[in-house]
Each structure stands twice: as structure tokens, then as C-alpha cells.
Symmetry: C2
Amino acid sequence: MTASLLIRNVRPMAGATVDILVENGRIARIGKDLAAPAGVAVEDGRGEIAVPGLVEAHTHLDKSLWGLPWYTNEVGPRLLDKIDNERENKKRLNIDPARQSARQSIQSSLMGSTHIRSHVDVDTEHGLWGVEGVMQTAADYRDIVDIELVAFPQSGLLRRPGTLELMDQAMKAGCEIVGGLDPCTIDRDPKGHLDAVFGLCQKYGKPLDIHLHEPGEIGLFSFDLIIERTRALGMKGKVTVSHAFCLGVEPALVDPVIEQLAELDIAIMTTAPASRPAPPVKKLLAAGIRVCSGSDGIRDTWGPYGNADMLERAVFVGLRNNFRRDDELKLALDVCTTEGARVMEIADYGLAEGKAADLVLLPGASLAEAIVTRSPKRRVVKRGKVVARDGVSIRTAP
Amino acid sequence: MTASLLIRNVRPMAGATVDILVENGRIARIGKDLAAPAGVAVEDGRGEIAVPGLVEAHTHLDKSLWGLPWYTNEVGPRLLDKIDNERENKKRLNIDPARQSARQSIQSSLMGSTHIRSHVDVDTEHGLWGVEGVMQTAADYRDIVDIELVAFPQSGLLRRPGTLELMDQAMKAGCEIVGGLDPCTIDRDPKGHLDAVFGLCQKYGKPLDIHLHEPGEIGLFSFDLIIERTRALGMKGKVTVSHAFCLGVEPALVDPVIEQLAELDIAIMTTAPASRPAPPVKKLLAAGIRVCSGSDGIRDTWGPYGNADMLERAVFVGLRNNFRRDDELKLALDVCTTEGARVMEIADYGLAEGKAADLVLLPGASLAEAIVTRSPKRRVVKRGKVVARDGVSIRTAP
């Protein structure tokens, strides 16, 4: 699973040209003109930029339609339309979570992601089908990408009795994170929903990553309840709020929330959506808050977009936040790399000696150029092994 | 400049498979199993989708940095910072309008655009340098793309004396459209600015395409003055308002404006920006208003983004307007094809017998798939000649 490799002639973060020596999957040395130990493969970096592995911190591996016949989307406009449509058609459309998560994981890896946090549906219609499938993929494709599972009550927790018990089983089965969803507008019982998901966190000693699509004032109300429980239960640094559209409203309403996010080290995931209010990335980072991003659903019954490219996502973060300067583009890349790793608490992450050799080689004169160009000519290294070149993975999709 | 060609086995707009016979640059016949006239080249469509040529209805060919060394953007946050920075550095950065417009035009063409409307800077620092350069490109590259010029007072019209006279010269030199810019916030004299640009329209019998970045109520005020003049001067169908961020505010304010846009056939150009309020595309189209889109600046001193891909722009239109259904994606493509052609009044445009043979062949099972996939494997046909294949143009960039 780990490899040794000498990568010659690369520029970490577009800085000075160096060699990177990898031993047993870890970066052993970064320096000038390193000698190749006997028997170690040498990769010519061609003067390209090296960045740490891209971090896909929010997706849904279990339900992509990647590689299936084109799905004609005629779904209704409400969130519940999309939820019900998906649950009712998953089997008919042959969305096998093991196969589909494998396909998307390969696509993610060849675009440069070395770590994925995947929410996985848990519902009374499909039980743990999704969790079992994605766990299978996490094990089978560990050579190219690390996958972390969030048990996710997509169809609601309390409104569909039996779901909480299934969530409990999912955590017992090994999911690393408890998920949640719109405590007011989906479950229509914010106290009940949040007590349940925080209860699971307490029971299993696991972090929370909750979807919060609720807009404006109602979202801020749910957020307030999340903050209250994070503080009361001593879960500082263990809560992520995903989407958090409500942080995109007026600063007068949002600024007091940001103070508490900083105090409790609550992380924010934003896809940087173009059609909604969205969390202000620069302001959150300046407040010391961990901010990550993700592709969310890739070509699924919710919508047709997506290609699992976290470099394209960095462009979306930049466009959404009106980042134009090179130093701002760097922030967008941080969100899709180091910040994502901080949210996922990946201990051995980074372009430094002693860290795991998870990195991407990109053409470009500067970081900003590498980001906006989104070149398909990438080389992806996972634990010291080149796992993709120019859009072709070492693994074949099922 | 024109060619004859038989394109076999293609699906216009993802419909039934047909052949398309092109004679002297025009579509002569669309039908099943057409016979190839003697000496006419045959192109195997491989069952791909044919769409009419993409229409880049708003860009700035004269000032892209495409192909120049990476420009590190450290520009200030205000609109005027960007305007002044660009004007003051254009020569130092060697942004030669002829060379740069040629580079971008080739890039546009190989991504599938067959028509471009380019705003071209006219200012007292550079005179008609931009207009002459882009006119040169329009002539030199007419085999791959049609380019229409808008004389554009980027640095303001009245605040920099001498600019109006240069605008007059630009129209005399052959620019097809009069441009304008933020009558309140840049020129600080809305009446003066609008009387001047509408005056040029009257003098030369040409349409207007005015940049309106002004937000909210002030933008709506400028819009009101534009509407007033459009009506008074009998310029129905001859005015485009570009950007029009102010149409993204509350329907209570915007709906009365939309009624007048429909009445006066005023067209709207939106880049579908993620970081700003933006015109509601579906609502405008439903009201019968012509809506086009464009890349705006491609990798220039204003910002680093862009690749001149109008299929990617269709994705941005979709993302910005929360289009998820296949029928909505079709609207996004319309904006980047037929609607753009309506705004540019391209008489012989479309996939129909008698029209110019300007089209793009795209892989994909459905239109929506072709759009979201944005495949680099495109074939671009201009006046019956294949001018680009798989991202490679028949023309070489200077």
C-alpha cells in the first residue's frame, strides 16, 4: 500500500525547485539534488508545481449516476421532491452504492483528490445498503484514496420512524462521523433532531457533520441550537456545519455567529453555490474558522453537474467569493487542500518531511495559474505511488 | 472562405440521426442518407450531437493576457482600481490588441464559438489602438469566426475629455455597436453619458450595448433612463444592457422593469456571475426577452478566470439560476446559442436549410449531458469548413 519514490525537480506550492524523497509512503526529505536510494523509482517533476492532495470534504459517493445511462431530470423544485424522488427510484435506476462509489472514487482520485469525506444515505427503504457499499469501496480502493463515511439521514430522522435505529447501526458498523439534516424544515422538530444526532455523537464518541440548507433566520435559529449543544456537550472542534447558506445573509446577523464558531472551533463546509447566499470564505478564514469544500452530489438525481474536480471547485470558491487577486486564489486552494485536511483531522497531511506522500503535480507558472487552468495533465501521488497520470487512473472502474 | 461538406450521421439538438449537406458555406439539405455530390468532402458525425455555433456575445478581445507571462494580480477592490490599473499598465504589459485578440479568437473558435461580440476599449491613453487591432483580427480570422466590435469607453466618457471624439472616430472607422458604461457611478453624470451614447447611436444608425454594473436602486435608476431614451428615440430592439446586476434584486422592484424590457425588446447579457445579484434568466426568457451570455474578460488584469468556453458558460448560467432539469439546461444552451444570435441579429444563423453552416459536433447522449460534460472532443464547423478538432484549431496563434 505504501511506496518509495524520488520526485525530482518540482516546486512545492510554486516555490523554489526541489526534490522530494518518499520512503514507505512518507515524505522523508525535501531538498536540493537528493540522491536516489538504490531501487527507488524516480519521477521527473518537469519543474511542475506540487500541492498536497486535494481534499474532497463533502460528497455523496453512494448515489452518483456516473457511468450509468443519462438520467433525464424532471424533478420538482422543492428539497423534499428531490429527496423523495431519489429514495423512490434508487433501486429502479440501479444505483448500486458499491459500484457507484467505486466509479466516483476513481474519478476523484484521477482529478487529484487523495481524501474524501462521503455522506452516505441511511433510510428505512435501503437500510445500510449505502454504508456497506461505500465501506467496500473504502477498503477496495484504499491504494488510491482515503474515504471517511458520514452516516447521513437523507430522508429525515424522526419523520421516518426506524431511521434513528439504523443510524445507530451505521455508527456501530464503523461510520466515522454522525450526519444530520435541516432540523426545522425536514424533521420539523429541531430539538428532537439535534438531541438525537448529538446523542449519537456522545454514544460513539464521534464528530458531527450536519447539512444545514435552511436559509436566513430559520437557518440561524438551527445554527444557534447547534452551537448551544456543541458548547454544552464539550464538542469544541468536533462539529462541521455543511452548506450553512444562512451565513450568507447580512453581517449584522452573521457576525455574532462567526464569533461563536471561532470560540467553539466549529468548521464550515461550502460548495460555494452560485444560486444561493453562501458563507463568506475570506471572512471566516480571517476569524480562524476552518473552512472546507466539496463537490456535493456528482451527476445524480438531484442535478446533472459535477466532475469531482476539487481544482474546479477552488475556481468556484474563487468565483463565488469574487476572489481575483493571486493571494485570494491561494485561499481558494487552501480550502480545497489544507483547510479540508484540518476539518477531516488528517494528522499526517501536508507537503513536509514526515507527512504522508499524498500530493498532486500540476503544470503552471504560479499557483493561481495552476488553479484557473485546471489542467487535465495532472499526476497524482498517494502514499508515494503515482496513482493517476493525465486523467488515467491505475484502477479500472467497475 | 466557404466550403461544401457532407456531415453524415449526426443528431441536431440530440434529435433523430440525419445527414447535413453543406453547399458553399450554407446548409443545403438536412435529411436521411443524403448522397455526397462529386468532390464534396465527407465528415463522419459518429452519431454525435450537432448544435448551432456557440455565440460569445460579450467579451473583451483587445485585452486578454492569453499566452503572455502570468500576471500576478494585486489590484485593489473597486471597479475604478481595475479600470485605472489596466489603462496604466496596458503598454508595459505588452497587451497588443491585434495579437491578443487573435489569440483569444482562436481559443474561442476551438471551443466552439462561431460568432463573437467584442467590446473594445476606446480611451485617451490608447486612442483607437484597440479598435484597429481587433478589426485586423476580425479580417484576418474571418475564416474561423465572425467578430463584431463595440466601441467601448472603458475609462469613462465625460470624465476623460476627448473620449467622446474618439468614440465618434471609432464608429466612423466601422465599429458596429456603440458602447457605454455605468452612467452614474463612473461618469457621475447619467444624463450627460446617456445623451452622448444614444447620440452616437442616432448619428451612425447603430445599436447600443451598455455595461451596467450599478447595483440595486441606482442601477434601476440608470435603467429607467435607458428605457426612457430607447422609447423616445424609437430604438426598440436596438439596445442591449450588459450585466444588469440590478435585475437580480426583489421581484417587486424588477418586475415593472421586465415589462418595459419586453415592450421595447431590450436585450440582456448576463455572464451569470456567482458573486453578485444577477438577472433571472428563466423569468426573462418567459417574458420574451432576448438573453445572451459571454465570457467577459478572459484572463486579463481584471481577473484570472476564463477559457472562452461558451459551453462552460452555459454550465455557469445553469448553476447561477439553479437549473437542474434537462429542460432547464436546454435554456442555458439557448442563451449561449440561438438567443445570442438573436441579440447579435445574425440573420443566417441556425441548424436549418438555407442557414450558414456554423455548427459544433459534441459527444453526449442528451443535450444536458453534452453541456455538463463540456467535452474537449469537439468539432467546430464555420461556413462548412471544419475549423477545429479536439481542441486544435486550423489557425496558429501569433
